[in-house]
Symmetry: C4
Subunit: 232 residues, 4 copies
């Protein structure tokens, strides 16, 4: 029986990064990481403090939601993570936080507009906000339906180009190629949200970055023409 | 003669949590914890720094306000705590802070609206603000009257479902089943207040969470159907 | 020849408190402490980092501005401190900072209104802002004239009841019975300013604390009827 | 072959100051320092964490952009730094950050107005914002063109009197006589931006500092008549 050691270690390490980022209070945040070949993902256990998490505490599930390893109860947000990992096949990890400025946009039901290059370096356009869930969607499958409305918001968006979404009235989810990268996206999302809030306070009609500038910034960091950072 | 060791220890520990939460400046905050069987509650002494508090410094009083143990003067807010502990029989501890964003709502005389799930996970609806105290109520029994207007604000609210109130022009009181939980409620209240302020800056007419979503979040954490965290 | 050791020590200690308060950036802040019997006051040297200040670095001057002890150049704000120490005979220490929210009110040319009890516990009414200095007052005696417009703003105010002022377009000065107390007043002023800003964001027409509540709070901490803190 | 040891050391030290200032997140910031006699400048390598930077990691280039020393890829913003170091012959160092409040002004396309003495102590008037770059300027020479629009914004400004600019939709650049001083200017710019934002929230029509007060503050710190700090 596989023990998923590497997966649990990566997942544990990424979860333990959260408090140091300033993005999470109490236990309001969680990271999942998947191994597509193994058909499994690891996720934080529910309501456990970050600083005493060990790899063995991580719960491993398959993509149908059956527990494969671990004795603790997984995060109550597990079905949302599972939905995103299923639907966005190009990603490996998902992060959920209640970071304060991103939550403000989610609570106001507004996408985070792309007002500058800090945003554009990571997100190729506005970060969408989901439609409200109906009363029926807020039933027993609530967390699964939450994943569904996120995916719905990406029907004409590339989740690799905009690795983040806001769930209306709730907060942000981000994703990436690794636990560490998904956490980085959660950090930049919060920074971009804070900057957008301050910008809109100065000018409620602030204009988004023009497409040529957005493309320049996003693609100097992503894709074949990227020239930011050191060659691999 | 009882020495109330366990009560004083819990009370001291909860008071000492306060500075680390970022909720209190100087000595603007205090925690009380009661033992209903013993007919007694412990509270912080007035104007003493948190980092040198010991359990022996805690003042123990009965529910009529007579000192049972301790040599220091109790917090000047003691009658407010005593009133709340008397009136809300389902609680064990009360916290008072001047946390900045919650105070802003108290100073504006506005309840903190329930705009998102961070709020709804802990408070089943808006956090009420008291009516202003009259000149007469601001006399020698001022702190006792402060408790009274809080209780008045809960005439049709369940204090176990909304474990917090704002005293108009003053600041927040929270409560809970233990010193530690009451402090947790004070932390979440401040976070919810900060998020609400930022949300209202984006949209002054932001809508509260719909009832179905509020119920889902509050009751996934509270009551018989709760599924957040680990089984006890 | 006197060496003013106690005075310099108190002054040095109070200056060294500043960075830990979060009120000052770089070297934007200074404390003076006076000994009225000795006819002398000590003040921070100009442009020196707080963490390497020693009592011997403090510059001691008489009330006419003559240096009595010390080899460094005193703070460029020395004439303002000297003016306040001369005019407000009931105080012993003065603090100047550029704390950010208090500066915002100074830059907006608005007094900090007394919107709640955090403010009212320390300041018996709004914290006044000076009139703008004229071009002539901004000449060679600029720092002395700065003291003068502060004193002018107190022509019908008791500086012991409102131990703080905002210099228009500049920032706050506070004072007290000791270096440590004047720093405490600087801290509370900044907190009150931050709370006022957030309150005015929620309600631009927020009402000041009614007089009965202001009196209750200020006088439970000050004067013969005070009952906050421990008996001396 | 010269090794530029002193230059790299100063540049490395200044880059390593950045995270402690709170001005940069992740790797969003960089410092360059030049030696005009040697016709060379050193700059941070692209995408490398600050806490593991060593002087040997600094990349040294000439003013035409040819690498003189170093094996890593220089910051992607190198051509902007190079342009500024070429055009502003009185400076020795350039800093770029995405500090949050300065970015808000850049994203709103507004200069930072000089609303108080904190600003006026360092910047003799408003900090200008560039015009938007055209689509053509956002081509392969984008970073060089970014330098060009900054210089354009200074056609009637003295860069030694206003050692900072905002690139529209992007963020701040500052400069100075040393790496350390350019970082100090980046810190004060962010503080001034935060104060300006809060001031404009209180009064959207807040008035700039009158010229006599601005002159008094700027020139008490700069030029032959300066009397702030200790004599050299």
């Amino acid at each position: 029986m596989p023990t998923y050691d590497a997966l649990r270690e990566e997942c544990c390490e990424a979860n333990r990064l959260l408090p140091g980022t300033g993005l999470v209070d109490l236990t309001f945040g969680n990271v999942s990481v998947c191994d597509r070949d193994a058909g499994a993902f690891a996720i934080k256990p529910s309501g456990v403090d970050y600083d005493r998490l060990t790899p063995a505490d991580m719960v491993v599930l398959d993509f149908e939601g059956q527990v494969l390893a671990g004795t603790l109860r997984p995060s109550s947000d597990t079905p949302t993570h599972r939905h995103l990992l299923q639907a966005f096949t190009g990603i490996r990890a998902v992060v959920h936080t209640h970071s304060r400025h991103a939550v403000a946009f989610a609570q106001a039901g507004r996408p985070i507009p792309c007002l500058g290059t800090t945003h554009g370096d990571y997100f190729h356009g506005p970060v969408p906000v989901t439609r409200p869930l109906t009363a029926k969607e807020t039933g027993p499958d609530y967390e699964w339906e939450t994943g569904k409305v996120i995916v719905e918001a990406f029907h004409d968006l590339n989740p690799l180009h905009v690795p983040a979404a806001l769930v209306r009235g709730h907060g942000p989810f981000t994703w990436g190629a690794s636990g560490r990268q998904a956490v980085e996206h959660a950090r930049v999302l919060e920074i971009a949200a804070q900057m957008a809030l301050a910008t809109l306070a100065l000018d409620p009609a602030a204009e988004p970055l023009p497409p040529h500038l957005l493309d320049r910034h996003f693609f100097r960091k992503h894709g074949p023409g990227a020239y930011y950072g050191q060659p691999a």
